[in-house]
């Protein structure tokens, strides 16, 4: 009895969906994102206003690749959006994306910030920087110096297994090799003022709280704290720190990306490409800079004044695609030195 009722219901639900899907699919676009919806909402609203295309979203934290893969050819996903280049490469390696040949995208995004096969495209970048207590005598620092014993008990950082950190550690590996990275990680670990953990903002908060003097964190959080977007409490955290752009010895500052790709089985491919192209337009890139405090990928779009105040940034020259190859090894090194323990 119950079985057949279930079946009937499922059929009815299916029929309803068929009807629904047939009627409106032309003006719709389905977005799977692991970026927080609050951050991309202004961008999507602007896109809908410009094109009339409604964007349906689902915010997936982990397992976006697994979900798209499991859904296979029936997947409604058109655009896949994520942070961290490793996540973008993962999507490509699992065969979940399709190439997009677009002059608009090619013209707006520098070559090192998109997939050589045009499978993924960076839409914004962010730097892994050092927050320092405002009154600390410190003008410049290298990533290598984070392991200097003079910082013993003075450094805060989030879990070594977080993609932002494995990204940085992979870059270190690309510069110095595995052995040196292990020694360096041991040194950084020895300098920790508290166990590695929390979020990037906790670095600023714990500096104000007197737990540490410097912290490793992403650049855009400063904008969100200092601007008051995150509330008064966070403004106090942001005001307690200054930002120093660290560099690798003989290199530049480590940056990571937020990016997007068109799903392999995208039912609305044209709209998907239109969204990507919109996201690199001056209008959208300006939102990335002003609302999210990220670095736009498109040349000529100005930074937010808070971010510009960090000083001139030299981006490290090791290509993102090379950094990605060290990711697994870096994550294992984090375990090996007991970075998070």
């Amino acid at each position: 009895m119950t079985q057949s009722t279930h079946l009937t219901r499922a059929i009815l639900a299916g029929a309803a969906m068929i009807a629904g899907a047939g009627a409106v699919s032309a003006d719709e676009l389905n977005l799977y994102t692991s970026r927080e919806p609050g951050l991309i909402e202004p961008l999507l609203a602007a896109f809908t206003e410009a094109t009339g295309t409604t964007v349906n979203t689902v915010f997936l934290k982990d397992g976006m690749a697994e979900r798209v893969a499991a859904e296979g050819e029936a997947s409604p996903a058109d655009v896949l959006m994520a942070v961290d280049v490793g996540n973008m490469v993962d999507l490509v390696e699992k065969g979940l994306t399709q190439p997009v040949e677009s002059e608009v995208l090619a013209a707006a995004i520098p070559e090192n910030l998109r997939d050589p096969g045009n499978q993924w495209f960076a839409l914004s970048t962010r730097a892994r920087v050092v927050y320092a207590a405002r009154d600390l005598e410190l003008q410049a620092i290298t990533y290598e110096e984070l392991a200097d014993p003079k910082w013993k008990g003075r450094l805060c950082i989030r879990s070594g297994q977080h993609p932002y950190n494995t990204g940085l550690f992979s870059a270190y590996m690309a510069h110095h090799g595995a052995e040196a990275t292990e020694t360096w990680l041991q040194g950084v670990k020895a300098n920790l003022a508290r166990q590695a953990g929390g979020g990037d903002r906790d670095g600023a908060r714990d500096i104000l709280g007197g737990i540490c003097d410097i912290a490793v964190a992403n650049s855009y959080y400063v904008g969100r704290m200092v601007s008051g977007d995150g509330g008064d409490e966070q403004k106090a955290w942001g005001d307690a720190i200054k930002v120093i752009l660290p560099t690798f010895e003989g290199g530049g500052t480590h940056v990571n990306i937020s990016g997007a790709a068109v799903a392999k089985n995208a039912p609305n491919r044209d709209e998907a490409v239109a969204l990507l192209e919109f996201l690199v337009s001056d209008e959208a890139q300006k939102i990335y800079a002003e609302a999210n405090y990220e670095h736009p990928v498109k040349a000529g779009v100005p930074l937010d004044p808070i971010v510009a105040g960090f000083g001139n940034m030299t981006v490290d020259s090791v290509p993102l695609t090379e950094i990605v190859t060290y990711r697994k090894q870096a994550s294992e090194l984090v375990d090996k030195v007991g970075f998070d323990n």
């Binding site: 499922a10 934290k61 982990d62 029936a74 997947s75 590695a196 979020g199 737990i211």
Partner: protein
């Protein structure tokens, strides 16, 4: 509860014949067995899907784990579980005894207020206390002001982000898993035995140690194992508090190293361990039976505590409520108020509260129905196959929710794709993803995950009903189904209501499967909270968190009413 005028069966001995149960010769019997197998099959499918994932192999995972991860992760996990296990057992059993054996001013409020921490998810309690006890928070600020320090750089207290902090915080919100079944046990089961012991001149302390505690053992075991599985599944609070448990290793293996087969392997290894532990506990008390006559017990006559003694009792009983519920709830309310004054109540929050409530209510109904079916099939037909199926039905609770969700995803998406391709072949139309697209996948995920709670609680409720009732019903010509309706359900409605509460609250708090499996444009309070927290807009998050706590209060109130009504009959 049985009404007083119902004929009483003679009090049976504390053991039953090995030939318990019905013979499934009649049609009704076979249906129960088939349903039981079907339900446990539903739970087993995602586990099998994970096994399939795990078999794809993961290069060098175990040598890496053995050398660099397991020593630390295992010691952290064992310490965490042992600490939480002891603490929830002590708080849960102690409070249950306090409000059952003693009467004092405020006891009736305390009876249900002790359940309130259930509505606070572990990740929220961790976040709230981290804020309250941070050097920048109000507590340390007050301490500094009293000691005359200006800045946290001059003086601060030890960090809450530690193993001890994690054990205490998790226990503060998980002890109701023990309190609930143990109190039910004390009320129905222990009452008459306790009265007899007291008539024989035993002191209250001895009664607790020698009668009530041993009798409550199955209830304590059930409660503690539920609390420990919640602990084992926790990622959010552990991450916040810096505990590197095995579950965090699973997560790292999957997310940071994109090694799903490896993550599945660790989870399945953990599953085997958990199942072994639970089997051991059951084996250790295999010779004991816990049923007595279900005849209407005399009300347990609690001892009246007056004056100072009453105040102390109230203070002790109120402590877990203050720490596990009032403090985080007041903190959230203050944070949410700031947000509310600034932006008002968003419409989406109301929609999300409705989604959360409906989804949890529907899922709870399904989980209860399936749980009763499985527990009853195992009682009526306690044959090896059925009993194994009953154990299998509880597997979903014993592995990390994030990983189980992947198993569910594989199963449901596979089914959806098959339906879609079949419809295209036969009718030339695409159905899309029916189960994922309609949210039915979420219901399935909650069923697979929380069935253990309802099977366990209902089974414990049934275990208090003597087999002689089944025999009597059979003699009177009742079938299997009729016996359930007229004997077991009425006699165990307290246990069923309790199971309903636990399941509802768990569904509402569930995050990992909900995030992964929900349809487009569909948010619940938990996913909203998560998104805001991920973005760092904690004040917005507080509003959603408060809403979770408030929606979670509804079933707690409801259960309290059911409990009172049962008391009065």
């Amino acid at each position: 509860m049985v009404s007083p005028d119902e004929p009483h069966a003679p009090a049976p001995p504390l053991a039953a014949s090995p030939a318990d149960g019905f013979r499934p010769s009649r049609f009704g019997g076979r249906v129960w067995i088939i349903l039981c197998f079907a339900i446990s099959g539903l739970v087993l499918l995602p586990v099998l899907a994970l096994l399939w994932q795990a078999m794809r192999g993961s290069d060098g995972l175990w040598s890496h784990l053995a050398a660099n991860v397991l020593p630390h992760a295992i010691s952290q996990t064992v310490t965490l579980l042992a600490g939480v296990g002891v603490l929830v057992a002590v708080i849960g059993t102690g409070c249950a005894w306090l409000v059952t054996a003693y009467d004092f001013r405020g006891r009736r409020v305390l009876e249900w207020a002790l359940l309130l921490p259930l509505s606070v998810p572990t990740y929220i309690v961790a976040y709230a206390y981290l804020d309250l006890l941070h050097p920048l928070g109000p507590v340390q600020g007050l301490v500094r002001a009293m000691l005359g320090y200006d800045s946290p750089r001059e003086f601060r207290l030890p960090d809450i982000r530690s193993m001890t902090g994690a054990i205490i915080l998790l226990s503060l919100v998980l002890y109701p898993y023990v309190y609930l079944p143990v109190r039910a046990m004390f009320m129905t089961q222990a009452a008459n035995l306790v009265e007899v012991s007291r008539a024989l001149g035993t002191t209250r302390g001895q009664v607790f140690r020698r009668v009530a505690l041993p009798l409550a053992r199955p209830a304590i075991a059930v409660g503690v194992s539920l609390a420990l599985m919640e602990t084992l599944n926790d990622i959010g609070a552990s991450e916040f508090l810096g505990v590197r448990s095995l579950t965090i290793s699973v997560y790292t293996t999957w997310v940071t190293r994109s090694d799903l087969p490896g993550a599945a392997q660790i989870s399945l290894a953990m599953l085997v361990l958990v199942v072994a532990l639970i089997s051991f506990e059951r084996w250790a008390r295999r010779r004991q039976r816990y049923s007595t006559s279900a005849q209407r017990h005399r009300r347990f006559a609690p001892r009246r505590l007056r004056g100072g003694a009453g105040m102390i009792a109230l203070g002790l009983g109120a402590l877990p409520v203050v720490l596990g519920f009032l403090t985080p709830a007041l903190f959230l309310a203050t944070e949410a108020w700031r947000r509310f004054r600034f932006a008002g109540l968003s419409d989406s929050l109301i929609v999300e509260a409705r989604n959360t409530f409906l989804l949890a209510a529907i899922a709870t109904f399904a989980v209860l129905a399936c749980g009763i079916t499985v527990a009853y099939a195992a009682r009526a037909f306690p044959r090896r196959g059925v009993l194994i199926a009953q154990r299998v039905a509880t597997l979903g609770y014993a592995m990390p929710g994030t990983v189980l969700a992947i198993g569910i995803l594989v199963v449901v998406a596979g089914l959806d794709r098959w339906i879609d391709s079949t419809a295209q072949r036969w009718f030339g139309v695409s159905t899309g993803l029916i189960f994922i697209g309609s949210g039915a996948a979420l219901g399935y995920a909650y069923l697979a995950r929380f069935l253990a709670i309802s099977v366990g609680s209902v089974e414990a409720g049934f275990s208090r009903i003597s087999q002689s009732y089944d025999h009597a019903a059979r003699t009177l010509g009742k079938g299997v189904t009729g016996t359930l309706w007229q004997v077991h359900l009425p006699l165990s409605h307290g246990a069923i209501a309790a199971a309903g509460l636990l399941v509802f609250v768990d569904c509402m708090k569930e995050l990992s499967a909900t995030l992964l499996l929900r349809p487009l444009n569909f948010e619940t309070l938990a996913t909203h909270l998560y998104a805001e927290a991920a973005r760092g807009t904690y004040e917005d998050a507080a509003l959603a968190a408060l809403a979770i706590v408030l929606v979670g209060l509804l079933p707690v109130m409801l259960l309290a009413r059911v409990g009172r009504a049962a008391d009065r009959t």
